[in-house]
Amino acid sequence: MPIITNLDVQLAKNKMSLTELSERVGITIANLSILKSGKARAIRFSTLELICKELNCTPGDLFEYSPD
Protein backbone atom coordinates (compact mmCIF):
# COMPACT_ATOMS: atom_id res chain seq x y z
CA MET A 1 0.00 0.00 0.00
CA PRO A 2 1.81 3.13 -1.22
CA ILE A 3 0.00 5.37 1.30
CA ILE A 4 1.90 4.88 4.54
CA THR A 5 0.39 5.80 7.90
CA ASN A 6 2.88 7.28 10.36
CA LEU A 7 0.57 7.34 13.37
CA ASP A 8 3.11 5.36 15.39
CA VAL A 9 5.86 7.92 14.66
CA GLN A 10 3.67 10.82 15.74
CA LEU A 11 2.59 8.95 18.88
CA ALA A 12 6.24 8.35 19.76
CA LYS A 13 7.13 12.00 19.19
CA ASN A 14 4.36 13.00 21.58
CA LYS A 15 5.30 10.21 24.04
CA MET A 16 1.73 9.04 23.92
CA SER A 17 0.26 5.53 23.84
CA LEU A 18 -2.59 4.42 21.59
CA THR A 19 -4.76 3.98 24.69
CA GLU A 20 -4.11 7.54 25.78
CA LEU A 21 -4.88 8.92 22.33
CA SER A 22 -8.02 6.82 22.23
CA GLU A 23 -9.21 8.30 25.53
CA ARG A 24 -8.42 11.85 24.49
CA VAL A 25 -10.01 11.86 21.04
CA GLY A 26 -12.87 9.49 21.79
CA ILE A 27 -12.11 6.98 19.03
CA THR A 28 -12.00 3.31 19.98
CA ILE A 29 -8.63 1.62 20.35
CA ALA A 30 -9.79 -0.97 17.83
CA ASN A 31 -10.33 1.70 15.18
CA LEU A 32 -7.07 3.48 15.98
CA SER A 33 -5.24 0.15 15.72
CA ILE A 34 -6.73 -0.43 12.27
CA LEU A 35 -5.49 3.01 11.26
CA LYS A 36 -2.06 2.48 12.78
CA SER A 37 -1.55 -0.92 11.18
CA GLY A 38 -2.44 0.43 7.74
CA LYS A 39 -5.52 -1.78 7.37
CA ALA A 40 -7.88 1.18 7.15
CA ARG A 41 -9.45 1.90 3.76
CA ALA A 42 -10.49 5.50 4.34
CA ILE A 43 -10.25 8.19 6.96
CA ARG A 44 -12.96 10.60 8.08
CA PHE A 45 -11.89 14.23 8.11
CA SER A 46 -13.34 14.53 11.62
CA THR A 47 -11.00 11.75 12.80
CA LEU A 48 -8.05 13.35 11.03
CA GLU A 49 -8.87 16.66 12.65
CA LEU A 50 -9.07 15.18 16.14
CA ILE A 51 -5.78 13.33 15.76
CA CYS A 52 -3.98 16.34 14.24
CA LYS A 53 -5.22 18.55 17.04
CA GLU A 54 -4.21 16.10 19.76
CA LEU A 55 -0.82 15.19 18.34
CA ASN A 56 -0.03 18.70 17.16
CA CYS A 57 0.75 17.60 13.66
CA THR A 58 -0.46 17.97 10.08
CA PRO A 59 -2.06 15.39 7.79
CA GLY A 60 1.30 15.31 6.00
CA ASP A 61 2.97 14.02 9.17
CA LEU A 62 0.46 11.19 9.39
CA PHE A 63 0.28 10.08 5.80
CA GLU A 64 2.97 9.64 3.23
CA TYR A 65 2.85 8.56 -0.37
CA SER A 66 5.72 6.43 -1.56
CA PRO A 67 5.63 5.25 -5.16
CA ASP A 68 6.10 1.49 -5.61
Partner: protein, 207 residues
Amino acid sequence: MGNRQLLVIIRSVINIFWILQLILLFVLFVYTLLLVLNVDFFDVDVLKGFKIHFSKIEFIQPLIFNGEEYNFNLTNGEGRLHVENLQQNFIYYRLFAAFIDTFLYLLILYFLKKIFNNLTDNDYFIPENGILLRKIGFTIIALALLPEIIHYFTDLQVAKYISIENVILKTEFNLDVQTLLLGILVFVISLVFLRGIELKKDQELTI
Protein backbone atom coordinates in the same frame (compact mmCIF):
# COMPACT_ATOMS: atom_id res chain seq x y z
CA MET B 1 -42.16 -20.27 12.34
CA GLY B 2 -38.86 -18.67 13.26
CA ASN B 3 -36.10 -18.01 10.78
CA ARG B 4 -33.87 -20.43 12.58
CA GLN B 5 -36.36 -23.28 12.52
CA LEU B 6 -36.76 -22.78 8.79
CA LEU B 7 -32.99 -22.97 8.36
CA VAL B 8 -32.81 -26.22 10.30
CA ILE B 9 -35.60 -27.73 8.18
CA ILE B 10 -33.96 -26.69 4.89
CA ARG B 11 -30.64 -28.01 6.12
CA SER B 12 -32.25 -31.39 6.88
CA VAL B 13 -33.75 -31.48 3.38
CA ILE B 14 -30.32 -30.73 1.88
CA ASN B 15 -28.82 -33.53 3.98
CA ILE B 16 -31.44 -35.97 2.70
CA PHE B 17 -30.67 -34.97 -0.91
CA TRP B 18 -26.99 -35.36 -0.12
CA ILE B 19 -27.50 -38.93 1.12
CA LEU B 20 -29.72 -39.80 -1.87
CA GLN B 21 -27.07 -38.55 -4.30
CA LEU B 22 -24.40 -40.53 -2.48
CA ILE B 23 -26.56 -43.66 -2.80
CA LEU B 24 -27.03 -42.89 -6.50
CA LEU B 25 -23.28 -42.52 -6.93
CA PHE B 26 -22.78 -45.91 -5.24
CA VAL B 27 -25.41 -47.56 -7.45
CA LEU B 28 -23.78 -46.10 -10.56
CA PHE B 29 -20.45 -47.42 -9.39
CA VAL B 30 -21.78 -50.95 -8.77
CA TYR B 31 -23.61 -50.85 -12.11
CA THR B 32 -20.40 -49.92 -13.92
CA LEU B 33 -18.46 -52.59 -12.06
CA LEU B 34 -20.98 -55.31 -13.03
CA LEU B 35 -20.74 -54.23 -16.66
CA VAL B 36 -16.95 -54.16 -16.70
CA LEU B 37 -16.60 -57.52 -14.93
CA ASN B 38 -19.28 -59.14 -17.12
CA VAL B 39 -20.47 -61.27 -14.20
CA ASP B 40 -22.34 -64.57 -14.63
CA PHE B 41 -24.78 -64.27 -11.77
CA PHE B 42 -26.48 -61.29 -13.32
CA ASP B 43 -27.98 -60.88 -16.77
CA VAL B 44 -25.60 -58.26 -18.09
CA ASP B 45 -27.60 -57.79 -21.28
CA VAL B 46 -30.34 -56.26 -19.16
CA LEU B 47 -27.84 -53.69 -17.98
CA LYS B 48 -26.41 -53.12 -21.40
CA GLY B 49 -29.40 -51.30 -22.77
CA PHE B 50 -28.55 -47.68 -23.28
CA LYS B 51 -30.66 -44.61 -23.68
CA ILE B 52 -31.38 -43.37 -27.19
CA HIS B 53 -33.32 -40.38 -28.39
CA PHE B 54 -35.35 -40.69 -31.54
CA SER B 55 -36.93 -38.18 -33.84
CA LYS B 56 -39.34 -40.57 -35.51
CA ILE B 57 -40.28 -44.24 -35.51
CA GLU B 58 -42.57 -45.42 -38.31
CA PHE B 59 -44.50 -48.66 -38.01
CA ILE B 60 -45.33 -50.94 -40.90
CA GLN B 61 -48.27 -52.56 -39.15
CA PRO B 62 -51.20 -50.17 -38.95
CA LEU B 63 -52.85 -49.12 -35.74
CA ILE B 64 -56.36 -50.32 -35.18
CA PHE B 65 -58.82 -47.87 -33.72
CA ASN B 66 -62.50 -48.84 -33.46
CA GLY B 67 -61.93 -51.60 -35.99
CA GLU B 68 -60.42 -49.22 -38.56
CA GLU B 69 -56.79 -49.26 -39.63
CA TYR B 70 -54.59 -46.18 -39.46
CA ASN B 71 -50.96 -45.53 -40.34
CA PHE B 72 -49.08 -44.09 -37.40
CA ASN B 73 -45.67 -43.12 -36.04
CA LEU B 74 -43.97 -42.11 -32.81
CA THR B 75 -42.00 -38.87 -32.60
CA ASN B 76 -39.56 -37.14 -30.28
CA GLY B 77 -39.02 -39.64 -27.55
CA GLU B 78 -36.43 -41.61 -25.72
CA GLY B 79 -36.08 -45.23 -24.82
CA ARG B 80 -33.60 -47.90 -23.90
CA LEU B 81 -32.09 -49.79 -26.78
CA HIS B 82 -31.16 -53.38 -26.03
CA VAL B 83 -29.05 -55.18 -28.60
CA GLU B 84 -27.99 -58.75 -27.86
CA ASN B 85 -24.26 -59.51 -27.82
CA LEU B 86 -23.32 -56.07 -29.06
CA GLN B 87 -19.71 -55.10 -28.37
CA GLN B 88 -20.09 -51.39 -27.88
CA ASN B 89 -19.08 -48.57 -25.58
CA PHE B 90 -22.15 -46.37 -25.88
CA ILE B 91 -23.37 -47.31 -22.45
CA TYR B 92 -20.06 -46.23 -20.94
CA TYR B 93 -20.47 -42.76 -22.46
CA ARG B 94 -23.93 -42.58 -20.93
CA LEU B 95 -22.57 -43.74 -17.58
CA PHE B 96 -19.81 -41.15 -17.77
CA ALA B 97 -22.46 -38.43 -18.26
CA ALA B 98 -24.43 -39.82 -15.31
CA PHE B 99 -21.30 -39.80 -13.12
CA ILE B 100 -20.61 -36.17 -14.02
CA ASP B 101 -24.26 -35.28 -13.37
CA THR B 102 -24.21 -36.91 -9.94
CA PHE B 103 -20.83 -35.42 -9.11
CA LEU B 104 -22.01 -31.89 -9.98
CA TYR B 105 -25.18 -32.35 -7.89
CA LEU B 106 -23.04 -33.51 -4.97
CA LEU B 107 -20.80 -30.47 -5.42
CA ILE B 108 -23.78 -28.09 -5.35
CA LEU B 109 -25.17 -29.82 -2.26
CA TYR B 110 -21.75 -29.68 -0.61
CA PHE B 111 -21.53 -25.91 -1.18
CA LEU B 112 -25.12 -25.48 0.03
CA LYS B 113 -24.36 -27.48 3.18
CA LYS B 114 -21.42 -25.18 3.89
CA ILE B 115 -23.56 -22.06 3.38
CA PHE B 116 -26.26 -23.42 5.68
CA ASN B 117 -23.68 -24.29 8.32
CA ASN B 118 -22.55 -20.66 8.19
CA LEU B 119 -26.14 -19.42 8.38
CA THR B 120 -26.97 -21.54 11.41
CA ASP B 121 -23.79 -20.17 13.01
CA ASN B 122 -25.33 -16.74 12.36
CA ASP B 123 -22.66 -15.88 9.75
CA TYR B 124 -24.75 -14.34 6.99
CA PHE B 125 -22.83 -11.52 5.36
CA ILE B 126 -19.39 -13.05 5.02
CA PRO B 127 -17.18 -13.35 1.91
CA GLU B 128 -17.16 -17.16 2.18
CA ASN B 129 -20.91 -17.28 1.49
CA GLY B 130 -20.47 -15.07 -1.59
CA ILE B 131 -17.66 -17.24 -2.91
CA LEU B 132 -19.71 -20.40 -2.26
CA LEU B 133 -22.67 -18.82 -4.06
CA ARG B 134 -20.42 -18.01 -7.01
CA LYS B 135 -19.14 -21.60 -7.07
CA ILE B 136 -22.75 -22.87 -7.01
CA GLY B 137 -23.50 -20.60 -9.99
CA PHE B 138 -20.57 -22.01 -11.95
CA THR B 139 -21.51 -25.59 -11.03
CA ILE B 140 -25.12 -25.10 -12.15
CA ILE B 141 -23.85 -23.71 -15.48
CA ALA B 142 -21.59 -26.77 -15.80
CA LEU B 143 -24.58 -28.98 -14.93
CA ALA B 144 -26.55 -27.38 -17.77
CA LEU B 145 -23.78 -27.92 -20.31
CA LEU B 146 -21.40 -30.81 -19.53
CA PRO B 147 -23.73 -33.86 -19.41
CA GLU B 148 -25.62 -32.60 -22.47
CA ILE B 149 -22.37 -32.22 -24.44
CA ILE B 150 -21.50 -35.85 -23.68
CA HIS B 151 -25.03 -36.98 -24.59
CA TYR B 152 -24.81 -35.06 -27.85
CA PHE B 153 -21.56 -36.72 -28.95
CA THR B 154 -22.85 -40.13 -27.86
CA ASP B 155 -26.01 -39.58 -29.92
CA LEU B 156 -23.82 -38.71 -32.92
CA GLN B 157 -21.83 -41.95 -32.47
CA VAL B 158 -24.97 -44.06 -32.04
CA ALA B 159 -26.56 -42.54 -35.13
CA LYS B 160 -23.35 -43.13 -37.07
CA TYR B 161 -22.93 -46.82 -36.21
CA ILE B 162 -26.46 -48.02 -35.67
CA SER B 163 -29.17 -47.87 -38.28
CA ILE B 164 -32.65 -49.22 -37.77
CA GLU B 165 -35.18 -49.29 -40.54
CA ASN B 166 -38.08 -46.86 -40.08
CA VAL B 167 -36.34 -45.21 -37.12
CA ILE B 168 -34.67 -41.80 -37.28
CA LEU B 169 -32.28 -41.34 -34.35
CA LYS B 170 -32.11 -37.88 -32.91
CA THR B 171 -28.80 -36.03 -32.88
CA GLU B 172 -29.79 -32.56 -31.78
CA PHE B 173 -28.11 -30.60 -29.02
CA ASN B 174 -30.71 -30.04 -26.30
CA LEU B 175 -29.57 -26.95 -24.46
CA ASP B 176 -31.13 -26.84 -20.99
CA VAL B 177 -31.94 -23.13 -21.09
CA GLN B 178 -33.72 -23.06 -17.72
CA THR B 179 -30.80 -24.56 -15.81
CA LEU B 180 -28.34 -22.35 -17.67
CA LEU B 181 -30.34 -19.21 -16.79
CA LEU B 182 -30.60 -20.36 -13.18
CA GLY B 183 -26.83 -20.77 -13.03
CA ILE B 184 -26.27 -17.30 -14.51
CA LEU B 185 -28.79 -15.86 -12.04
CA VAL B 186 -27.02 -17.40 -9.05
CA PHE B 187 -23.69 -16.15 -10.43
CA VAL B 188 -25.02 -12.58 -10.77
CA ILE B 189 -26.50 -12.70 -7.26
CA SER B 190 -23.11 -13.81 -5.92
CA LEU B 191 -21.44 -10.81 -7.61
CA VAL B 192 -23.95 -8.42 -6.02
CA PHE B 193 -23.51 -10.16 -2.66
CA LEU B 194 -19.70 -9.90 -2.83
CA ARG B 195 -19.93 -6.23 -3.81
CA GLY B 196 -22.21 -5.62 -0.82
CA ILE B 197 -19.64 -7.21 1.48
CA GLU B 198 -16.94 -4.95 -0.01
CA LEU B 199 -19.10 -1.87 0.69
CA LYS B 200 -19.74 -3.02 4.24
CA LYS B 201 -16.00 -3.51 4.75
CA ASP B 202 -15.32 -0.03 3.31
CA GLN B 203 -17.79 1.35 5.81
CA GLU B 204 -16.25 -0.54 8.70
CA LEU B 205 -12.70 0.37 7.75
CA THR B 206 -13.43 4.06 7.40
CA ILE B 207 -11.95 5.39 10.61
